[in-house]
Amino acid sequence: MAANNNLFSKRDLYLIFTIVILGLFISYNAPEFMQQKNLSNILGNNSVYGIMAIGMTLILVTGNIDISVGAVFAITGIIAANFANYADIAGITTPLPVFAVSMLAGAVLGFINGYLVAKIKLPAIIITLGNMSIMRGLLLLLTGGAWVSSMPGWLTTLARSKYLGLYASTYLWLFTALLIFILLKCTVLGRNILAVGGNPTAAQRIGINLKKVYVFIFSVFGALTGLASTIYIANLGCAQPVAGMGYELTLIAASIIGGASIFGGKASILGTCLGVILLGIIANAMVLAHIPIYWQSLVTGLVIILAILFSYREERI
């Protein structure tokens, strides 16, 4: 047993093993699966979920949960898209400012969530649920449901820029994972976050400021959501006020498959990424293995349950 086994665990190995077996099984039925193009597509497309799932893991570590992620995703997407269009007119031709604006907007929304959670001392699930309702309502009220389309080319081409065979978005995902991993593993702040998740009372007693920690992680999650939504609008070339519906459950699922606990204190960044990849592979296999649409949900569910049973062994003695 290594000391910091809450960041790297046997569970991760089981997950990798599960993914490899599943991958072999799929490529037996659909040789296209192993094509380099397909693998990089999986990693590229799922980076949107991957980046947010890492943020969600950070929230889960502290024993909180964020239901409003979909709404934040939609709002930052709309803001980023509008900003990109204005920026284009103003002569800007690099996506960096768009990322910055989107992440900043996300961080602000996350800050509001975090501040309320810290201030009101209520379960985050209910606060973020209320915020989700408010944010979506405001967004629809202001946009009237209209999509923002016709994005500038310098942003949408991002969706096809590849380096060393991987999409740019994959690198952003990797970078996020690394950053948060280092945060949790190597920094004092990161250990404090884990401590808060393990025993909030004790954390408070040794002088950790719970409010600051909550505000910090929710803001980070917001910023990561902004990052993801910018990748999303670059991929799709448009932004919708209804984007991100139901993402919260997908993200939570990925985190928990990866070994996080919704009661806090436990998390694995690698595991979360593997969880996203597992779900992504299953979705990909539905098309590649030509599963009829009416059977897809059933097959997906069965594979998920099998994967859980398989990778959950370590938890039980």
Binding site: L122, I126, L129, G130, I134, L140, A253, G301, I308, Y312
Partner: protein, 309 residues
């Protein structure tokens, strides 16, 4: 001394009354017997599902598969009834099927000790998948007149489904507060490890929780299918988060072991009244969403402040 829980329910009742007064003053149609009964009928399905969800939360878990179970049961009911099978037999069969679904959830969560969210997310996909496969995405109609009794008929002026809800809710309240099973659920929910050391059969009791939740999903789907005279696979989807919200709003502690089903039902009632009242007032859907969110946060903040003192 008024205990915390009672306090909570009194606040909820107070909110209900305030809302009724507000809506009545602004909308003539609101405070009429007809509309009140309509509200009571509208909240039945969500109430039943919230009962199931509340018990799961009290036991320290979640059941995210209720939506899929509603869909599965709805499709099965509609197919069997429309193919001419005897109603009683159909109900028994589909009820049995759902109990079996609940049993699977229960075994995975209770005995194999797998995180309930994960389990029910997975089984949800499976149950929904089965529903889609057997319905092929169709909405199934052709239900008998006889079957309309659960969702469209009245006993006197009271809708049948309201009566079903009252009976089931009363029974559930009794069971949860006064049966050994109910007590053990609270204890397991407040600390699983301590419950194990106190000699409580955690696996079995948790398994029953998911069976109960499935039974509630069945009843909700029975009423829904009968009310809409249609079976559809996606009937239950929107209820999942709503039921969690209603439960927590009604005072069920999200970490397990605390709260009261009566509060949960009151929580649903508040939601139902808000939604009905706003529809009466011709509020735009967006504004409605914003106001619901605000009420949720403001009320809970108020409650949190007062419980601290």
């Amino acid at each position: 001394m008024v205990s915390k829980n009672q306090n909570n329910e009194i606040t909820l009742l107070f909110i209900l009354i305030v809302l009724v007064i507000i809506f009545s003053t602004f909308s003539e149609g609101f405070f009429k017997i007809g509309n009140m009964l309509e509200i009571s009928a509208q909240m039945v399905e969500l109430s039943l599902l919230t009962l199931g969800m509340s018990v799961c939360i009290i036991s320290g878990g979640f059941d995210l598969s209720i939506g899929a179970m509603v869909g599965l049961s709805s499709v099965c009911l509609a197919i069997l009834i429309s193919s001419g099978m005897n109603m009683g037999l159909t109900i028994a069969l589909v009820f049995g099927l759902l109990l079996f679904c609940g049993l699977i959830n229960g075994i995975l969560v209770g005995y194999l000790r797998i995180n309930s969210m994960l389990v029910t997310l997975g089984t949800s996909s499976v149950y929904m998948g089965i529903a889609i496969v057997i319905s092929q995405g169709r909405a199934i109609s052709g239900l008998t007149q006889e079957f309309a009794v659960f969702g469209q008929h009245y006993l006197g002026i009271i809708p049948v489904q309201t009566i079903i809800l009252i009976v089931v809710a009363a029974f559930s309240l009794l069971i949860l507060s006064y049966s050994t099973w109910g007590r053990r659920i609270y204890l397991i929910g407040s600390n699983y490890e301590v419950a194990r050391f106190a000699g409580i059969n955690c696996g079995f009791n948790i398994m029953l929780v998911y069976v109960y939740s499935a039974a509630m999903a069945f009843l909700a789907s029975l009423i829904l299918t009968s009310r809409l005279a249609t079976g559809r696979a996606d009937f239950g989807e929107t209820y999942i988060l709503q039921s969690v919200a209603a439960a927590v709003f009604g005072g069920i502690g999200i970490n397990g072991g605390s709260g009261n089903l009566f509060g949960a039902i009151l929580g649903v009632a508040v939601f139902a009244i808000i939604s009905n009242g706003f529809n009466m007032l011709d509020f735009s859907q967006y504004a409605q969403q914003i106001v619901i969110g605000l009420i949720l946060i403001v009320f809970l903040a108020y409650r949190a402040q007062h419980n601290q003192v």
